[in-house]
């Protein structure tokens, strides 16, 4: 099956051994989207690398940048100012909603519910407009920086974000009504792609795959990073262990993400959006006209980049697909010696054989959709 199969959400090949309609053995074969990002990152400065980072988990760019900068900032021992932390969390949580909307749309599309797909992508499109407001880009924003974010939020953004969050809340309830009690949807998802709690833990599943199997494991809650400890939210857990449980987890997560985003909007602090450390952050444009010092810092940062202290680090974060972390090794130069991405889709794919073996062939489509795979994340 695959690699050119529409329901694999990318280029994934599955070698299947069948007996009639029943899958005896499933072996995922990946690498079709391998672009050597980890190797490329070793030849670029920390600032240039964000271009590559954005392209790994391409449905949730803000969460991805968040993960990368958590590790780099841990190397520096930096803490971004409060406003920057709130902006990051606001963008990440809105991105989480947009990413789950793509899951919902494409999972529904795989089961031939094409109207939900259109609705979901319409909502996501509006998030992409918001992304364009803050960063100038719909995807691959490159908006976060080491020690903060690139620019302050533009005028009118807070109101636009609030309007979108309200609209999405109404729409998610509507999709919930369309799907949750829909007989066909239930028959296709209930008790399909079963993954026991033990298998999910042993095979390294994270995110909605693990939470759908009854483990309340959310990195934002257990190992708070980037300021999440200041926010109130509940971890969505379902004990069904099947595709329907994962669907319910993501629906609830969209509501919780909205809750976090609204708290960030309500309590958005004033102040700078990036640290005042000239070895890391560019000096403000106005300073360049007056201060020779600022020009030197600007020149050094643009031409050479920043030099984190030697050492290695790993910071776990919660991407929409599970635990995402960057293992970064620095030798004190301006380029990393090693960047390894702990990719949630890669580990979640490892659970796929356990979900589909001994089950009918048609369930594979549901199983792949239920782990919400992003092949850019698997193959890097």
């Amino acid at each position: 099956m695959g690699p050119q199969h529409p329901s694999t959400h990318g280029v994934l090949r599955l070698v299947l051994e069948l007996e009639g309609e029943v899958v005896l053995k499933c072996t995922p074969v990946m690498g079709y989207l391998h672009t050597g990002i980890e190797k490329e990152m070793e030849t670029r400065t920390y600032h240039q690398n964000v271009t590559l980072v954005d392209r790994i988990e391409y449905l949730s760019n803000y969460n991805e940048e968040m993960a990368f900068y958590q590790s780099v900032e841990r190397l520096f021992g930096l803490e971004p100012p409060p406003r920057a932390r709130y902006i990051r969390i606001l963008m990440s949580e809105m991105n989480r909603i947009a990413s789950h909307l793509v899951y919902l749309g494409s999972a529904a599309m795989d089961l031939n519910v094409s109207s939900v797909f259109l609705y979901c992508l319409q909502d996501r499109e509006k998030f992409l407009d918001l992304s364009e407001m803050v960063s100038g880009q719909r995807m691959m924003p490159g908006y976060f920086r080491v020690g903060g974010v690139a620019e302050d939020l533009p005028d009118g953004f807070m109101a636009a974000a609030r309007a979108w969050l309200d609209e999405v809340a109404r729409n998610v309830d509507e999709y919930d009504g369309l799907l949750t009690d829909n007989l066909i949807w239930r028959q296709r998802l209930d008790n399909v792609a079963l993954l026991s709690r033990e298998d999910a833990i042993a095979l390294g599943g994270t995110g909605p795959v693990l939470r759908g199997s009854g483990v309340p494991h959310d990195v934002r809650k257990i190992l708070p990073y980037g300021g999440y400890e200041e926010f109130e939210f509940d971890v969505a857990v379902e004990t069904g262990c099947d595709a329907f449980a994962r669907y319910r987890v993501r629906m609830e997560e969209m509501r919780q993400a909205r809750r976090i985003a609204l708290q960030a909007l309500d309590r958005m602090p004033d102040g700078p959006v990036i640290v005042n450390d000239r070895k890391v952050a560019l000096p403000p444009r106005a300073e360049l006209a007056r201060s020779m010092e600022a020009v030197i810092h600007q020149f050094k940062l643009v031409s050479e980049g920043m030099h984190p202290p030697a050492g290695e680090t790993y910071v776990a974060t919660e991407s929409p697909r599970g635990e995402k972390g960057y293992f970064v090794v620095s030798d004190g130069s301006n380029k990393p010696v090693r960047v390894h991405v702990r990719a949630p889709s890669f580990y979640n794919l490892q659970t796929l054989p356990a979900m589909v073996e001994g089950r009918p062939l048609a369930d594979i489509v549901v199983a792949i959709a239920s782990i919400d795979i992003v092949l850019g994340d698997v193959d890097r």
Partner: protein, 183 residues
């Protein structure tokens, strides 16, 4: 902090004089010799109840020897406890016992480490390349594997090999030494 106590608790179940434990930027790290690896991993699973292998990766320490350090990140589902186990792989090809007997979740990432660095994991049930094509030569994430352009079958195309795109400077060499590649 909970992380220091993890090292204390581990110290009762492994020969502590042969491992180096440290606290590094909030991470509990133990450096173990290769022959103790499986003992430490089993102890982590059985006495510390770290039930999941969160990540396995490696990095190339060139020019230091032995070159390859494999890093295991262990965690507990639903809890904040984390333990990083580091081990140096020696030999040519570098060899290590496979962690899959203790943590089945190490299956895919060990294949990735083998693919990218050529570290052979003895006892792995299915040690094949995972991201690179099966007939690929070499291990691309090694530091002495230069970035180069792959030959493509276009008419009149002369591939730039070895890398003229981004030259490789061995650590410690004067910058701008002409980009000689060590291979």
């Amino acid at each position: 902090m909970g992380e220091t106590s993890i090292l204390d608790r581990l110290s009762h179940s492994v020969p502590w004089d042969r491992v180096t434990a440290a606290e590094d930027r909030g991470r509990a790290v133990v450096q173990v010799p290769a022959d103790l690896l499986l003992d430490v991993l089993s102890a982590a699973r059985d006495t510390l109840a770290l039930d999941t292998c969160v990540d396995v990766t490696a990095w190339d320490r060139l020019p230091k020897q032995p070159r390859f350090e494999v890093v295991y990140l262990l965690g507990k589902a639903g809890a904040a406890e984390r333990l990083t186990v580091k081990v140096l792989a020696v030999g040519d090809p570098p060899r290590l016992p496979s962690a899959t007997v203790v943590y089945p979740g190490a299956g895919f990432p060990e294949r990735e480490v083998y693919d990218m660095y050529g570290v052979v994991f003895d006892g792995h049930p299915d040690l094949r390349r995972i991201l690179m094509p099966d007939d690929w030569e070499g291990h691309p994430l090694r530091r002495d594997f230069s970035l180069s352009e792959e030959a493509v079958e276009f008419k009149g195309h002369i591939p730039k090999v070895p890398s003229q795109i981004i030259p490789y400077f061995p650590p410690g060499s004067p910058a701008g030494s002409g980009g000689k590649t060590p291979r």
